[in-house]
């Protein structure tokens, strides 16, 4: 783990019309770390990911990507919001895979991966195509590249969405419940893919309900409840000896078929 964390979140607060969705979130993710973000629904996990990409502007707090301020800056005691252009320049460093994927249906699979490289990174078409082909090959999509998203299976769409994010060469990948929209038989496939990605040294934050993934792939588990991360530690420790009783209760609820396994 390098000295500067890839992602550093400090005191993040987000309110929606008086409802506090994030209530002071602190999180550091080092290079190559895989953090599973778990917690009951409505606890603020998705809001946190949306704030980390500045799709939602947090009301308070700071985000630092690779040591650089993202969204708003602090110089001494003065806080200034960054210009839209500055935010856009940082965004490719953060790859977000939406829960609903949000592939672009009017473009072929490979064009979904090529287009942002052309528009945002200003790569040449040849270079972007080469990069896209390499990614699609890695993800087992070579024979699907000319298809449109609607003619792909759920698992294939998921992989296109991952390829689209990876093509921007992000420092950090964010996954919002990557298995929730999939048929049960595809869940294993996507989890294997995430494991493979983790093995390449990619820094990842994965919002998930798959406790098996959290236990087996993640280095750390961060547990969120009511807008705060109330437990954050090595996966094995959080799974077996959580210090907060809320975590223990939640784990009991979602661990299938083994009420007394701890």
């Amino acid at each position: 783990m390098s000295a500067t964390p890839v992602l550093s979140v400090a005191g993040l607060v987000k309110r929606f019309r008086g409802v506090t969705a994030l209530d002071g979130v602190y999180l550091d993710v080092g290079k190559g770390e895989v953090v599973a973000l778990i917690g009951p629904s409505g606890c603020g996990k998705s809001t946190l990911l949306r704030c980390l990409t500045w799709l939602e502007q947090p009301d308070d707090g700071f985000i630092t990507i690779e040591g650089k301020a993202f969204g708003r800056e602090r110089t001494g005691a003065v806080v200034t919001p960054q210009r839209r252009r500055q935010v856009d320049l940082m965004r490719p460093r953060i790859g977000l895979v939406f829960q609903q994927l949000n592939l672009w249906p009017h473009l072929t699979a490979i064009e979904n991966v090529i287009r942002p490289q052309l528009v945002v990174l200003r790569r040449s078409r040849a270079e972007a195509t080469e990069r896209a082909r390499a990614l699609m090959a890695n993800l087992g999509l070579s024979d699907r590249s000319e298809r449109y998203p609607h003619s792909l299976s759920g698992g294939q769409r998921q992989r296109v969405a991952i390829a689209r994010a990876l093509a921007m060469d992000p420092a950090l990948m964010l996954f919002d419940e990557p298995t929730s929209a999939l048929d049960p038989e595809l869940v294993g496939e996507v989890l294997a893919l995430l494991r493979q990605l983790a093995a390449t040294g990619m820094t990842m934050v994965v919002v998930t309900h798959e406790i098996a993934f959290a236990a087996n792939v993640a280095d750390r588990i961060a547990f969120m409840d009511q807008g705060r991360i109330i437990e954050d530690g090595p996966a094995a420790k959080v799974m077996t000896r959580p210090s907060d009783p809320r975590v223990a209760r939640f784990l009991d609820l979602i661990t299938p078929g083994s009420p007394g396994h701890r």
Partner: protein, 240 residues
């Protein structure tokens, strides 16, 4: 009785003039209707009840009355307001406004059908709002517009025949003149049938071609909602 199309030969210039006027009226009404329709659709998307109500009342009125009545109301109503315009101007405006109610709903449905996630995913990779518009939003809206617009435009071309009843010398009007002169109604109307059919066929072909150039839309976004479906089907259109 013998079917004798040659009886129409002296009247070919008249048919040509009528065709030309129908084409002109249809083209102008198309642009007028679409321009007004886009404005109405954008107004209807303002998140406030007043603009939304205004647009839905406008749409409800124009959808709820037969086009021929719209034409009569405008044609005989405008002089009360002290406005005297040539019949073909009044007719074109009436046709354009009639179509605008439908185009408005087509445009609105195409915009609403787009999920906000499309814009967000473009922004999240680092596209500016303008780039997101150009590469992700606009192409999807444009192609979603084509199929329902085809139907409405064909309907509008055919509805333009109604303008013959306010003395607009369009194709239908000329066919009535010719059958009056020749006492050969079947030949006259058969000729006009062919011309209308050729016009609508050309327009349908052009739209289909533009749809292919924009790429085919998949079934997920368009044609699923009852609203869109109601504009795709002919029989729910108010009869005239």
């Amino acid at each position: 009785m013998v079917f004798d199309p040659s009886i129409l030969i002296p009247y070919l210039p008249l048919l040509a003039a009528g065709t030309w006027l129908t084409v002109k009226i249809s083209v102008m009404a198309f642009f007028l209707g679409y321009a007004v329709g886009i404005v109405l659709a954008l107004v209807a998307l303002i998140p406030h009840w007043v603009p939304r109500l205004v647009v839905s009342v406008y749409v409800a009125i124009l959808r709820g009355i037969p086009f021929i009545i719209v034409v009569f109301l405008v044609y005989y109503g405008l002089p009360f307001a002290g406005v005297r315009l040539p019949a073909y101007v009044t007719g074109t405006v009436a046709l354009g406004l009639f179509a605008s109610a439908y185009y408005a709903e087509i445009v609105r449905a195409a915009i609403v059908a787009l999920s906000p996630g499309q814009f967000e995913s473009a922004r999240a990779v680092g596209m500016s709002p303008l780039q997101a518009m150009r590469h992700v939003i606009a192409p999807q809206i444009l192609r979603a517009l084509v199929p329902p617009s085809t139907n409405m435009t064909l309907t509008m071309i055919k509805e333009s025949s109604v303008l013959s009843s306010i003395t607009v010398a369009d194709l239908t009007y000329q066919s009535l003149v010719i059958q009056g002169n020749t006492f050969a109604p079947f030949e006259s109307f058969a000729a006009v049938t062919l011309i209308y059919w050729a016009m609508t066929a050309i327009v349908a072909w052009a739209f289909a071609r533009s749809e292919r150039r924009l790429g085919r839309i998949e079934a997920e976004n368009v044609g699923r909602s009852a609203l869109v479906a109601s504009f795709l089907s002919f029989d729910r259109r108010p009869a005239s």
